[in-house]
């Protein structure tokens, strides 16, 4: 009750500001609590993996859990020295991911450029097919893609008179089986098309005026000026190819051809008592992506953000 005559409207307002500030502080504390809690959650699995990769195999489940005592490098020695399949998987993964990334980025840029700049028959229809295919769940083409890469859609091939038409590549258990379907991507083409559509034509036109053909204009002018976009698409592709699981699982058969994720899963099945080795190996799958992520963080975040804003 404000019976005291000293109360002025001014001090009442002061109290209001004080109340607002307290409320802000409370919210700030809540916000920080949320952020810190989720940050701890996010780091925990990788932290424990790191700790236990430095502990002996027999201690895979033994405390202490916060610090690697007793400390050992045995698991890494196993991976890099005694178990010679492991370096192979790393090399396989690097090869496949790099080839997929380079080819996909190039093909997507070329197709995107054509959709944005060049007039050709059936362009609209093709682009609509592309848009629809982006909505299609990948699982529906899994079985036919497997048949095409491997034994063929029609057993024994199609015959047209004397002519035998193969309906499959017969590439099972080879790296090309993993690479080939990966180099064409609808989303990538869509992304590059949107990019080139929003891109000023002047530079290209100047080059054409100087007598440069379409191909040399594309490779000498267009590709270099779209490098940010290409890098964004490249990072997205590389991460996907590096972590890909279901497709290589189906088409790769012999351990020496495995990629790292398939290899790790296979190793876990064969040597399930050596979980510390699995953990150390897991870090080899995580670390390269992590390093690339830290270097190119800006582009990673851009690429993820762009998937959202372009669609809406």
């Amino acid at each position: 009750m404000t019976t005291t005559p000293t109360t002025t409207p001014d001090s009442g307002f002061g109290w209001f500001l004080f109340f607002v500030r307290i409320r802000q502080t409370v919210f700030k504390i809540i916000f920080y609590a949320i952020l810190i809690a989720w940050a701890l959650f996010s780091i925990a699995p990788l932290y424990f993996t790191l700790v236990f990769s430095f502990k002996p195999v027999v201690d895979a489940y033994a405390p202490p859990i916060w610090w690697p005592t007793p400390f050992t490098l045995d698991n890494y020695q196993t991976i890099l020295g005694t178990f010679d399949l492991f370096p192979r998987w790393v090399v396989n993964s690097i090869n496949i991911s790099l080839v997929v990334t380079l080819l996909r980025v190039l093909f997507c840029a070329m197709a995107g450029y054509a959709f944005a700049r060049i007039e050709f028959p059936l362009k609209k229809i093709l682009f609509n097919v592309l848009l629809v295919s982006m909505m299609m769940p990948g699982i529906v083409t899994l079985i036919p893609s497997f048949l095409i890469i491997g034994p063929g859609l029609v057993r024994g091939g199609l015959t047209l008179g004397d002519l035998a038409i193969p309906t499959g590549f017969g590439l099972l258990d080879s790296h090309w089986a993993v690479i080939l379907p990966g180099v064409a991507d609808a989303f990538g083409v869509f992304m590059m098309t949107q990019f080139y559509k929003s891109f000023p034509r002047e530079l290209e036109e100047a080059a054409v005026m100087d007598g440069s053909g379409r191909w040399s204009t594309f490779f000498r002018i267009v590709l270099p000026i779209s490098q940010t976009q290409l890098l964004t698409l490249g990072l997205l592709t590389f991460q996907g190819a590096w972590n890909n699981f279901l497709w290589p699982l189906i088409v790769l058969r012999s351990p020496e051809n495995f990629t790292l994720p398939i290899g790790l899963q296979w190793f876990r099945g064969e040597y399930y008592t050596l979980y510390s080795v699995v953990l150390a190996g897991s870090l080899f799958n995580t670390l390269p992506i992590l390093i690339i992520f830290f270097i190119f963080q800006r582009y990673f975040i851009r690429s993820v953000a762009s998937t959202g804003s372009k669609e809406g």
Partner: protein, 296 residues
Amino acid sequence: MISAGRRRKLSEAIDGYLFISPWLIIFAIFSVISLGYAVYLSFTSYNLLRPPEWHGLEGYQRVLNDELFMTKALPNTFKFVLIVVPIQTALSLVLAFTMDQKLRYRRFFRTVFYLPSVTSSVVISLIFVWLFAPQGIFNQITGLTNNWLNDPATAFYVIMGLNIFTTAGTLMLIFLAGLQDISSTIYEASEIDGANAVQKFFYITIPMLRPVIFFVVTVGVIGCFQVFDQIFIMTAGGPLDSTTTITYLIYKWAFRDTTIKMGQAASLAVILTFIILVVTLLQRRVIEGSGSSAER
């Protein structure tokens, strides 16, 4: 005689096709032909040994009469979507909203939150198998003794938790980009009117973000309906088929079972595609219908 104009048009068309051909050929083979053949296969029975035999709708009938599909895979898949999508959407929205406040160390938090999304599904699944083992770290910290992944009552929830954990970071980044498009003057105006953070979240952020929410939910639904890697590695559909989902069942029929059932698996893949299509369309109506402005 061809006029110069027509010749230029022709050469442009040829260039156009040369530019798209590397992509188009692969795309045609692995997407268009593949899709067509998947539909064809779905009407046949095919075990790789003999040519596909046309059976009409029998494959679909067999799927719908399959006990594993009707009593496990179908309900499990819907359960997975209905639990994971709302939680991961809400969680990543709250995280993004929190990140959008003017707080310190935002870059640090953003990086850390994205870590689980950078880690591959295989690696994080292998890690979770170990964390949730009977003598694993999760039990050690919580003092529990459950055998999480071998218990039909808990296994599926661990996989759901893992999915929420790994996707929250990506979805948060998408939301964050959307949030930064909301003009700060709207927030400032609401502050003058005395709105607190909770009110701002419900009365400004959520309505303004509707298109992004639609996108995130769509991506979530499509992804969750196709969950595979985590299930393959953590439980292989078990224990007692409690974690068998539609995608896992497709894989099982086509590639894992001793009697290969590629036709039936193709039928199921087509059914799944329809389910995803219908759910996506329904969800679009719900999200766009629930508010006035879906314009962006």
